[in-house]
């Protein structure tokens, strides 16, 4: 990739257009209840976790994600529902994912504290 004189990556001519984080495709097969969302600057890390949460929603009849091309950092998330706006499903899933992660974060903090209290002699050795 092109490198400037300072050693940092030079922006492509096309990259200058500020990309939105979240967009959705338009065309046949896209309406309020069946949408393909395009999330920029994300990969399987978020895509797979988000898809798993969306699939658990009983209102969703189809959900899948894909990375259209490995050289472009974006994912397409397709959600098909029955009479529930797809944006709402996405928003609910993100909230649930965030809540789950915050819960896990707290669990880990508690567990680390519990372990450190249960093993104080190892602390002194370090």
């Amino acid at each position: 990739m092109p490198v400037g004189p300072d050693g940092f990556r030079v922006q492509n001519a096309n990259e200058g257009d500020s990309k939105n984080k979240l967009e959705w495709l338009v065309g046949p097969g896209q309406d309020e209840y069946c949408r393909t969302f395009v999330i920029n600057e994300e990969d399987h890390t978020l895509g797979n976790a988000l898809k798993h949460i969306i699939i658990q929603n009983p209102a969703v009849s189809f959900c899948g994600y894909t990375v259209p091309h490995p050289m472009e950092r974006k994912i397409h998330v397709r959600i098909q529902t029955n009479k529930v706006p797809a944006v709402q499903v996405l928003r609910q899933a993100l909230k649930e994912l965030k809540e789950q992660n915050e819960f896990i974060r707290q669990m880990i903090k508690d567990e680390v504290k519990r372990y450190q209290e249960a093993h104080p002699e190892e602390e002194n050795m370090e």
């Binding site: 994300e42 976790a49 658990q56 009983p58 928003r91 819960f103 974060r105 567990e111 519990r114």
Partner: protein, 341 residues
């Protein structure tokens, strides 16, 4: 109840019907987090500053994989990025030496620093750390005339990472102590020199992430699913000894029964490496059922940066929550504009 366990057969992997509780569709409305995740546990098996072995029980594997990916690609560390070479008469080429310097792990805590701007030309105190290396190799004055060991003949024959001296920028002396700005290991060999060679250079370390360059990875992280071994029939005598050899040490124990037979028993399947060696031997092929529990993940982190192992895990969780937050604000932008219409 059918649990969707993964069965390891001789030439294939099968999955039992059913799925672990986490994957079923549920009506999650109005449940508090404690109720939703009642069956889920996190247990630390082993922990110190460097290593962490932690069990995620009841969580879906896509979540744990996300943490692993974030540790490798998005948790930030400090590493040397720019090398200003003033003099290098050693036999190690400039670019090779610069590459090696980049890979030296530093003890600098990345949470005190910001990411450097792309178009920044100055090295500021809030985003870079400066080191210098000035080493000259010369003959040792008091060496014996027939000395052959080059370490005794010359001073500074080996350039180690301990020779990197921190040069504070701006107000860094108020915030940091020298002991916390050193390379993680003092005995990393950077270059070897002979008499008369000299290396003088200045380096700047910046904050970066693993997806940019592997030198910015804070550590290793990997996971495996909990193995389970079930004996489908009694295995005794010579077959028991053979069975014990097929698995990792400590997994199968041979106990004598009151009748005098020696019978194999599964003690602890956790440490098994799942090599499926047992399928090599026709006599005991049918005596075991090897499975993996899909919702019990054994997660490992090894740190080789300033962050401790559990701090790396906490950072990756923060980053995951940050991703969700960014997207939620984006969605709210759209729903707000739609509501205005």
């Amino acid at each position: 109840m059918s649990s969707g366990k993964i069965v390891l057969k001789e030439f294939q992997l099968d999955q039992e019907p059913g799925s672990p509780v986490t994957s079923k569709k549920k009506k999650n409305k109005d449940k508090s987090p404690e109720e939703k995740y009642a069956g889920c546990k996190i247990e630390i098996i082993n922990m110190d500053d460097r290593d962490l072995e932690i069990d995620f029980i009841g969580f879906h594997i896509s979540l744990v994989n996300a943490y692993r990916r974030i540790v490798l690609a998005e948790v930030a560390t400090m590493a040397i990025e720019k090398v200003y070479m003033y003099n290098n008469t050693s036999i190690v080429q400039d670019e090779v030496l610069a590459h090696r310097l980049g890979l030296v792990p530093l003890k600098v805590d990345p949470r005190f620093f910001e990411f450097r701007n792309k178009d920044e030309t100055e090295w500021g105190a809030q985003d870079s750390v400066k080191y210098e290396l000035k080493v000259k190799c010369s003959k040792k004055p008091g060496a014996a005339p027939d000395e052959t060991d080059p370490d005794n003949l010359y001073v500074n024959r080996k350039v180690l990472s301990s020779s990197l001296k921190w040069v504070p920028l701006g107000n860094q002396t108020d915030i940091f102590q020298e002991a916390n700005m050193q390379p993680l290991h003092q005995d990393i060999l950077l270059a070897k020199m002979n008499s008369g060679h000299e290396i003088i250079l200045e380096v700047y370390a910046v904050k970066g992430i693993g997806s940019d360059h592997a030198k910015f990875q804070p550590g290793l992280s990997w996971y495996r699913l909990l193995p389970e071994i079930e004996l489908t029939r009694e295995v005794e005598g010579e077959q028991a000894v053979l069975l014990q050899k097929c698995f990792s040490p400590g997994v199968i124990e041979i106990n004598p029964t009151p009748e005098g037979k020696k019978v194999a028993k599964v003690v602890d399947a956790r440490n098994d490496a799942c090599s499926r060696n047992v399928f090599q031997y026709d006599s005991i092929k049918d005596s075991v059922k090897l499975t993996r529990k899909p919702d019990h993940v054994i997660f490992y982190i090894e740190s080789h940066s300033a962050l401790k192992s559990f701090e790396i895990l906490e950072e990756s969780l923060n980053i995951m929550i940050g991703k969700c937050d960014t997207l939620l604000t984006e969605i709210d932008k759209y729903t707000d504009t739609e509501a205005e219409k």
